[in-house]
Symmetry: C2
Subunit: 381 residues, 2 copies
């Protein structure tokens, strides 16, 4: 289940090249971790270091070309990529800029159109001064967000298997949670115990873990743990994006300790029911907006005071969130083999939020859960 | 030891404003995780999600201003920041661009000079299309890399304490390694055991863990683990950047299993001696280049065939690597309270690399180790 056969990367590259031809684009440049990994299979936490830029160029035919610091030569050469061009980095005077310029000119031609993701959910991971130099020597870039987005939104069976595996691991860890946390622990101790359990169950990493506890409700659901002691009557939310082989799960669970008020139980049931409605709405040909509306209708009927999240779920993949978003205006057409989250949330009282999240894959006849479905009633520890 | 008192952020902001005044800069815009955290204290793994941009504006006087998605309002308001401006995100049509434009115009004036880090080791974390719109409506930015760099390179005692704590934790975990790994395990099992031990010893997270094993030597030192079985005669390198309260350690250790050849032992001793030479060379007023030369002289005398790393150590902080770099041309003057790594490495035979790394803080009279110094001879498990 580790890595991919070369055919996976061939298929990704060929799909990209088909879309490039339709758009009359001669080469695409990418430079962020998921983009480079998508085309090459190059997988390392070395991206944590901001020192060195890394580039991959997708030509109109043939394999992608890696233009990278020398420190990555051995690892990149172990992927399916044949053409690995390196420079000694860090080298602030010319950190790959001229090597990349030459490569792009060679691949795209002097007057070629070069695509670069410049739109929503993208950024260019290189110093802006260097990017400006690159742009002026190449007569600019054309936005290629739509191409990368449409490729990455549709997963292969091999990718879906990795998602399914990490979702099962995290589901197992959540099932253990009542045995791991209790009143009298600090939030920090509870976080630490849960993180260790996710790893023990087989996750590679837990890059994203947020959560909070609060007396009878929780205001801020993206918090880091504090030394607050968990008390009877508290609500607890944990939300984790964990990985297996570089693919994410992203779902949360809510619990109460010893007892819960009826309005908290009702809020839990409301978001659980909203998730059901979203799940029923997901099928090829529906849109992210119809899915949003299905969930929002349930939340409104249950007296939602709104929410600050800005959407009710999103794509999932090599990043904890990817395109598209379930919003009132997103309108992305849902297709088979998308991997999505459903994440309805509401404010059920001022300063009290409740958010549910599940992960699913879109099949020809509708959605299939990847996460093990949460209990329909608020679990009490 | 968690977080910082408000005075820490006041001091950072005032130092920044002093440098801004010297450069005639009216406001500075930052938008990456460490930059925003540096000025605000806002600390969340939510940055894993590429969907939403986050901005902080440092005015010429007074506290920084946060311009962020609504989902972060509660967490940001819990920091020392008073002025938190939010929009509902994701909103691709205008994801904070007009709110940020208004804020920068208000703070810097219509003709004000606005600084943005645009140089080495920086990038702008927002879609390039949005950045272009922002630049054109503001008459561009001026590079502020030198200001942010000079601030972040010098650590406060509170920051140094966090570095010291995580370095002790990871040193303890490395000391346990001979009890955790053995021949017959896979690389992946060894990684997993070591990661769990670092967390058990008290680290918050292990964002960076690379390593490899190899018969009598290791070629690629930034690798992810494989299913390769560890065998007698193997060398093992683990290199980890682990965190406590958002501050990194970054050092490695090398081991052999059951026995090692004399040339491997000699290579180990060469990089150990080079580290000693680098350590002796570090003092306020020296430069990163004199430190590089001190290490390189030892490596050359020991028959180094070169290395692909491109430098022999670097700054350490809220990121696993930060400015400056120990290279032949970096020439950064070393100052008191810098936190640095020493990372001499050599190829001792074709395809066989040996790299040592230690962490230190610069004091008035020289360097102090933060990592527990590696054994002078290659440890054999």
């Amino acid at each position: 289940m580790r890595g991919f056969p070369d055919t996976e990367f061939e298929r990704r590259t060929q799909r990209c090249q088909t879309l490039m031809a339709e758009r009359d684009i001669d080469a695409i440049l990418v430079c962020t971790e998921p983009e480079v990994r998508y085309f090459t299979g190059f997988h390392t936490p070395f991206w944590q270091s901001p020192t060195r830029p890394w580039f991959t160029v997708v030509p109109s035919t043939g394999k992608p070309i890696a233009v990278i610091p020398g420190i990555g030569a051995a690892s990149m050469s172990a992927t399916w990529i044949d053409d690995v061009r390196t420079w000694s980095s860090p080298h602030p005077e010319d950190d790959g800029v001229s090597l990349l310029t030459d490569c792009l000119r060679e691949v795209a031609g002097a007057d070629g159109r070069i695509g670069l993701p410049m739109g929503p959910e993208t950024h260019v991971r290189m110093p802006l001064d260097d990017l400006d130099r690159l742009r002026s020597s190449l007569n600019g870039f054309t936005d290629a967000t739509d191409i990368i987005r449409s490729l990455r939104m549709i997963k292969s069976e091999a990718e879906i298997n990795k998602h399914s595996h990490i979702c099962t691991i995290v589901s197992n860890a959540f099932d253990e949670l009542p045995n791991l946390v209790s009143t009298g622990m600090t939030e920090r101790q509870a976080f630490s115990a849960f993180r260790a359990e996710i790893l023990r169950q087989g996750a590679d990493e837990v890059p994203y873990l947020v959560g909070a506890t609060g007396p009878g409700g929780i205001g801020d659901i993206i918090r880091q743990p504090s030394d607050r002691l968990i008390e009877p009557g508290d609500l607890l939310i944990f939300d984790t994006g964990s990985t297996f082989d570089g693919y994410f799960s992203d779902f949360d669970r809510n619990f109460a300790f010893t007892h819960a008020a009826q309005d908290a139980k009702d809020a839990y049931r409301a978001v659980w029911d909203a998730t059901e409605a979203g799940f029923e709405a997901v099928r090829p040909g529906a849109t992210t907006t119809t899915v949003f509306e299905a969930m929002n209708t349930v939340l409104k009927a249950n007296g939602s005071l709104g929410n600050d999240v800005g959407r009710m779920g999103h794509g999932l993949g090599m990043q904890v969130t990817e395109w598209p978003s379930h919003t009132a205006s997103d309108n992305t057409v849902i297709e088979e083999n998308m991997v999505l989250t459903l994440e309805p949330g509401l404010l059920w009282a001022p300063g009290k939020a409740m958010v549910h999240e599940e992960n699913l894959v879109v099949r020809a006849d509708g959605a299939e859960f990847l996460s093990r479905r949460a209990a329909p009633e608020l679990p009490i520890i």
